[in-house]
Symmetry: C2
Subunit: 154 residues, 2 copies
Amino acid sequence: MMNKSETKLVALDDLAVGNRYLSREFPLDTAQIKDFARNFDPQPFHLDEFAAAQSFFGGLAASGWHTAAITMRLMVESVPFSEGLIGAGVEISWPCPTRPGDVLRTESTIVGIVPSKSRPGRGIVTLQTDTFNQDGEQVQKLVSKLLAFRRGAK
Amino acid sequence: MMNKSETKLVALDDLAVGNRYLSREFPLDTAQIKDFARNFDPQPFHLDEFAAAQSFFGGLAASGWHTAAITMRLMVESVPFSEGLIGAGVEISWPCPTRPGDVLRTESTIVGIVPSKSRPGRGIVTLQTDTFNQDGEQVQKLVSKLLAFRRGAK
């Protein structure tokens, strides 16, 4: 995998609606799911196979926030904005659960660019990031409003 | 803090718009911020004080996803839905950064309840969760669509 410093970084000037960025694959196991849940989402269906089997999820499922955090990791590695990924806000939905053994990957597409009226060096880029498992099922839809900067502005 | 099993759990039948749930306080330090960032959001402004000082953030800041994950932890502890907190989707904004040394807390308010037409035992509860630091500044606004169940339904 390329280091960020070796990747060609792009400024607001270089971005266009339709630009698309694909991530590597991220394998997820039971230990990671339980570890994240213990820290941030300690609910039985994220922590215990037996309780999960009897729950709405019908088996151990990752916290949606874990799926979101992994998605961010994959975005940081694959979306080469020059000043980084700085989110003002997001919308998320989780169409189906992430499970132990899943291998996740993301597809990020620029769906909108709005230059700032008050701050000429800045703009808001709307990026849609779909997260898929190894079977091509979409486990998350994320739409992010990201702050981006023209070359030389910050 | 009460254990969840000692808390009075409430089903969809018991919920009403305007119900409000307050969390405990959650202290956040530099080590936690860098640890989360290394795993899920490895950008310089979340990992390195010097790089952060020169960035948009003007100093080390927690990943917004870390703020979101801590918020979930505090929601799990403070919002006593009988079948747990199962999110279908959320909207998030981050009005100001979370910093090392911040002590976070959440206020969750039910702003909408829509019974399912197709599944009579279920409904969608819209919960707004505001996350504040020790100075009363709002660091995150979260609006969650949560699946809730009537007593005896699942």
